[in-house]
Amino acid sequence: MADQSDNVQRAATIAVLVENEAGVLARVIGLFSGRGYNIDSLTVAPVDEHGRLSRITIVTTGTEMVIEQIKAQLDRLVPVHKVSDLTLEGPHLTRELALIKVVGKGEHRMEALRLADAFRARVVDATTESFVFEMTGSGEKLDAFINLMRPIGLAEVSRTGAVAIVRGTSSLTA
């Protein structure tokens, strides 16, 4: 009698602790492509002192049933230690880093600097005709800044995708 017509989509930020071994990322990505799940962003890096564990942060969207499936499917991969749906865990921080190259002269250049200042983007490279800004923040904040740069010389963007962590004392450990 369960409601089968549950079509409401939600976003989920999922943190996955995995063995830092060859092929583990391919397993996770293959799972998503093989089963037709969305990946909005995915980041990965070793996180423990011995480099044995990596943390993958995946942002995805789907119905409640699909997101539950994604978590169950991730959890049964052999090298996966823990799967945590941060969206359900409660308040959490999400951050993304972007490097943004703006090329231009004169007033455009000044405007880019003024906006970067307002957004607390740092200048990490400069020539007489370009800046590279480094910016950290939520995806929305990065989007807003990048959109402002478009008409004044946006040339290139490199973004990391989201990393996330739960607020407070609770921690995700293997």
């Binding site: 089968q4 391919a26 293959g30 539950e68 169950a72 959890d75 049964r76 052999v78």
Partner: protein, 598 residues
């Protein structure tokens, strides 16, 4: 060096990679490997040559090696072991691996690989085996460090059998097999990350029991998970179903988990399930699914599946729960553990069943049974395939021999499932999830290796059998008295049936033209060939076949026009079954949406 340290040194560092592999296999209880040699695995074959603990069965194609290991695994409950070479050896094995993945069969497949320094160079017989088999296995490994070799083999066996079983590949570069390294015994410690839940949460079990006790129209729907949980799980299922007085249906994979002759058994459910099983599923108010996965062959159209029911789903794999069908009470655990807990909770639960409602429900089920959906008329001398399977069943029972049945895929498979009664688990091996034609003969080989004195019969079709017919040579070499019983209707019968029902009778490419003479074919492979052309021949041929202690092919000519009924057309619901001509009911046409489905 003191004697102790000398001993320690010899135990830890004097073995070649190939020797380490064999020693680990032995420690894991392997007594037989199905395989095919090649350049990259020659060191292992050399090591096999120099020992007697593990027997090697030389197949004629690597796909057959995996199916044989599946037959071995399914009939014994042990992990099946396969050894193939790199490149084409590994790629040929892929079909078998996916077959084992979809049917949750524990397999460890060792594949050779080019030496580590050549990996990625497009070397001779190089394939990216771990890349290719990643979605084809439960897990896979590429061993690049000989000090990790022994533990990898041990872990592979653990992963293959733990939780929901499945196939595991270990890719072994040739330099690792030749190099020397330490042997390590299987670890006693828990696996660092893969620890499936075996014991169920008792609160969930109590909820399930309360729900089942309150049911007016309950049903138990049991699948291959019960078989995989070992023979005890089948005994517990039988005990539970009987003590609770519930109707029970089995999936294709679950046949044998509940005795077919039991009055509470409704037969198989699903696309070619019985009328009573499917209508009971459709009409139930509480469904207890144990070890089945709401496969599309079982559910039919999802939004019309058991529409007024509360569902309990017990499975060892949490990802099987709420995948296709949302359930009210999920129970994660091994089928035997869940059933043991259910029996205990049932006895503890003070609430009583509504006996009156249950009696009404059974009357309704008996009415459905009255339809006799599996009835057929054997009127002429042309053998009806159903009759052939029925006689095969009856005559094998009369023979008193322990009988194992494997099948290929298609109409004959469904008739075998419908007309051969299975009283015990582990005696029925069929390719359920992947539907692999060519499965039955090599699987029968594996069963016969594990049960040398049993009667092992591959119920086949004349099309499927040709997909791995080369294994007749393996039967001859090892004197395996496997019986191949071909229901020969000169068509890829299931394809023909769908073309008749869905594609206007345009039998595109489904005629089995230019068939071999199966009698001569059997003889050329050192076996016995027999033909049954009419009902006059049938019993005699079957009896002879059972009596012969050699490989036999029976070419049984059956009615070409016969279709498998009941049938739930794709995209239809359980109450929209098609019945055999002459039986009333079931008028569902196939919708355009249904036509898209396979």
């Amino acid at each position: 060096m003191s004697p102790q340290t000398l001993q320690a040194a010899s135990a830890t560092s004097s073995l070649t990679g190939a020797e380490i592999v064999l020693r680990a296999l032995k420690e894991q209880g392997v007594d037989v490997i199905f395989g095919y040699p090649g350049g990259a695995v020659l060191p292992i074959y050399d090591a096999i040559f120099q020992q007697n603990a593990i027997r090697h069965i030389l197949v004629r194609h690597e796909q057959a090696a995996v199916h044989a290991a599946e037959g071995y695994a399914r009939s014994t409950g042990k992990v099946g072991c396969v050894l193939v070479t790199s490149g084409p050896g590994a790629t040929n094995a892929v079909t078998g691996l996916v077959d084992a993945l979809l049917d949750s069969i524990p397999i460890v497949c060792l594949t050779g690989q080019v030496p580590t320094h050549l990996i990625g160079n497009d070397a001779f017989q190089e394939a990216d085996t771990t890349g290719i088999t990643r979605p084809a296995t439960k897990h896979n490994y590429l061993v690049k460090d000989i000090t990790k070799l022994a533990e990898t083999v041990h872990e592979a066996f653990y992963v293959a059998r733990a939780g929901r079983p499945g196939p595991v590949v270990i890719d072994l570069p040739k330099d690792i097999l030749i190099g020397k390294g330490p042997y390590k015994e299987a670890p006693k410690a828990e696996h660092r990350s893969y620890r499936p839940q075996v014991e169920p949460d008792m609160a969930q079990v109590r909820k399930a029991v309360a729900m089942l006790k309150a049911a007016k129209r309950p049903i138990v729907y049991a699948g291959g998970g019960v078989i995989n949980a070992g023979p005890e799980a089948s005994e517990l299922l039988t005990k539970f179903v009987r003590m609770a007085g519930l109707p029970c249906t089995n999936t294709l994979m679950g046949l044998g988990a509940y005795p077919a002759s039991d009055p509470q058994f409704l037969g198989m459910l699903g696309m070619h399930g019985t009328y009573e099983a499917n209508l009971a599923m459709h009409g139930c108010d509480v469904m207890f699914n144990i070890g089945a996965r709401f496969d599309d062959r079982v559910t039919g159209r999802l939004n019309a599946f058991a529409p007024n029911s509360l569902k309990i789903h017990a499975d060892i794999d949490p990802s099987s729960i709420n995948k296709n069908v949302k359930v009210e009470v999920p129970v994660v655990g091994d089928a035997a553990s869940v059933l043991r807990a259910m029996i205990a909770a049932w006895q503890d639960e003070p609430a009583q069943q509504d006996k009156q409602a249950l009696a009404t429900w059974w009357r309704q089920i008996d009415e459905w049974r009255g339809k006799k959906c599996l009835a057929y008329v054997q009127e002429s001398k042309i053998i009806k395939p159903q009759h052939a399977v029925r006689r095969l069943y009856e005559l094998t029972r009369e023979s008193g021999k322990e009988t194992f049945i494997t099948t290929e895929v298609g109409q004959h498979q469904m008739w075998a499932a419908q007309y051969f009664g299975f009283e015990k688990p582990n005696h029925w091996m069929t390719s359920g999830g992947l539907g692999t034609m060519g499965y039955g003969l090599p699987a029968a080989m594996g069963v016969q290796i594990a049960h040398p004195n049993a009667l092992v019969i591959d119920i086949a079709g004349e099309a499927s059998i040709l997909m791995n017919i080369q294994e007749m040579a393996t039967l001859a070499q090892y004197r395996l008295p496997v019986k191949v019983f071909i229901l020969n209707n000169q068509y890829m019968g299931m394809v023909r049936q769908w073309q008749e029902l869905l594609h206007g009778g345009r039998y595109s490419e489904s005629y089995s033209a230019a068939l071999p003479d199966f009698v001569k074919l059997a003889e050329s492979f050192h076996g016995v060939g027999m033909r049954a052309e009419s009902t006059d021949d049938l019993d005699r041929v079957i009896k002879e076949m059972i009596a012969i202690d050699r490989p036999v092919i029976v070419d049984c000519a059956v009615d070409e026009k016969e279709n498998v009924f009941p049938m739930i057309p794709s995209g239809a619901a359980h109450n929209e079954m098609l019945l055999a001509p002459g039986q009333e009911g079931g008028v569902a046409g196939v919708t355009d949406e249904g036509k898209v489905l396979v």
